[in-house]
Subunit: 123 residues, 2 copies
DNA sequence: TGTAATGTTCAATAGTTCTTGAACCAATTG
DNA sequence: CAATTGGTTCAAGAACTATTGAACATTACA
């Protein structure tokens, strides 16, 4: 594993690439979970998303999320800690991230936002 | 040409499909132009977008925009008039459409939002 | 040093999307 | 009825995307 991977600068973040990233259900679920985590101002590592797919598939989606500027990865020992690039995104596209996340929250039942173990079938 | 094409009901509009539609530069440009047209409360027909691509390619993108619920098509004689499904989208995903359109407007220079004849190189 | 834990990278494959041109359909106009 | 206008549909090809498993790299720890 190389060092901290490359991230685009704020001004390099492009709207079509961001929308392209958010369109995928797995990536939307990742972003959603990162947004939930923002409330307690801490980060999540790759393993926290294991409910969403296999390791290599998740690594693929993490890379896309990094490359489009949606999230940031920090290497710490054998872990990678991730968080949303909230400030950069709000500066580039005001209101977009919040609108997507709140829309996703409203449709949480339809979307597969949570890993299986967290899904509660509100019967 | 058959009659008025099918449109999904409001509750059938899905977030990933909407984001999937908006991610494509041609479709984003179509939506952007429709949003501009909203101000004068009128519609646009297919030919108004000829600067964005060939007829059959545009028809393909129009179909995607209809199927995901972003726009509505009204058949009138030999024309098809289109408009954004603003009310339905605002009800389903509050703030999303506005955030996308205003973000696109800010990046109008980078994105190919306007047909060639309309592009002004602000030198 | 050896082994386990955590993720990434690579190669292969299946599936999807975009684009183009030709053919087609419906409504209008002469 | 024939021609034109405005737009859709179909088929085919190129390009891209997601997914999987195997191999690999780095850190931690006994």
């Amino acid at each position: 594993m190389s060092r901290t991977p490359l991230h685009p600068a704020r001004e390099q973040i492009e709207l079509p690439m961001v929308l392209d990233c958010l369109r995928d259900p797995i990536r939307l679920a990742i972003v959603y979970q990162l947004a939930q985590q923002e409330r307690v101002s801490s980060e999540l590592c790759c393993g926290d998303f294991s409910g969403l797919g296999g390791k290599s598939n998740l690594a693929y989606h993490f890379a896309k999320l990094r490359e489009c500027g949606l999230m940031q990865t920090r290497v710490a020992g054998t872990n990678r800690f991730m968080r949303l690039r909230r400030e950069d995104l709000d500066a580039r596209f005001p209101g977009l991230l919040d609108a997507v996340i709140s829309s996703a929250a409203r449709d949480a039942g339809r979307l597969q936002l949570l890993s299986d173990c967290e899904v509660v079938d509100a019967g």
